[in-house]
Amino acid sequence: MSLFFNPREVLEMAVQIERNGKRFYREAANTVKEERLRGELGLLSVMEEGHEAMFQALLQQLSVDALGAEWDDPEGEAAQYLQTFSNGPVFDLERSVPPELVGANANLDGILEWAIGREGDSILFYTGLKGLIPSAGDKAKIDTIINEEMGHVALLNRRLREVAGK
């Protein structure tokens, strides 16, 4: 099995993760009727856009100062781990939002559970990505994003419990 180990590809995956998340939350917000949840989903979409911008900035930095040349993974473990996400069942980057989650009859439980799953997947991927990044400052940026994604999970879990309790 050939492994990718191209910092550009890894960061482009991160950008795509956030872009998918942004789109999902925007569509989900348009579907949900309850105002508070609509607002929260809209806010989550905005936050994912912010994360997308951060990863885009890292990509641009890659072009400018050959950041990629410093990425080091002598045992190939980080590459193997991230490879798991590119073509394994743990995380399917190509998986599009199930239409039943954002259609007219969208199920609220389904939306929240799907979102929680995707946020968890993001954290998993960024945990692996962080290990590759040499700069402490850039690692800290990823840590901030991981922290924010955890906040998203906590919020979504609270809403899911409320919905289940109704």
Binding site: N147, M150, G151
Partner: protein
Amino acid sequence: MSTLVYNANDVFEIAKRIERNGAAFYRAAGDVMAEGESRDLMANLAEMEVQHEAVFASMQQGLSGTETEETLYDPHDEAYAFLKGMADKYVFNPNEEPGRGVGLGAGPLDILQEALLRESDSVVFYEAIKIMVPEKYGRGRVDEIIGQEMGHIMLLNKELERLTAKAGA
């Protein structure tokens, strides 16, 4: 829902419970696996989870009297809220028993999928713990465990790919 306000002792108790559940899951899973290679993998992973539990126990024993009760600090409250939600799911939900995913009729592929979910949840859970656990309580050791759990994900994924290819052959 739990009402705990987490201190370091609580967090390590939850982590130990997760590892204990994980070891029990892998032992039960080993009984289901037909192939020697799969059975060996389950046994190895069970043993590793036992070692992880011992690490968390050791970190817990390292806490002093006041540190045991000291509430952990999370400046943004995000990791704390996340941790609480996960703990409610894994520790306080009586339906989330170790044998989940190894029920009647569960085959090797089902088990591996379930194992991947569990290991994935462990990684994100321990990332949250790491945010809240100060260096003096052993944050570096949590990092080591995270690395090992990530290794489990790779092993399980490889095994899943192997068995899936074999089933399709």
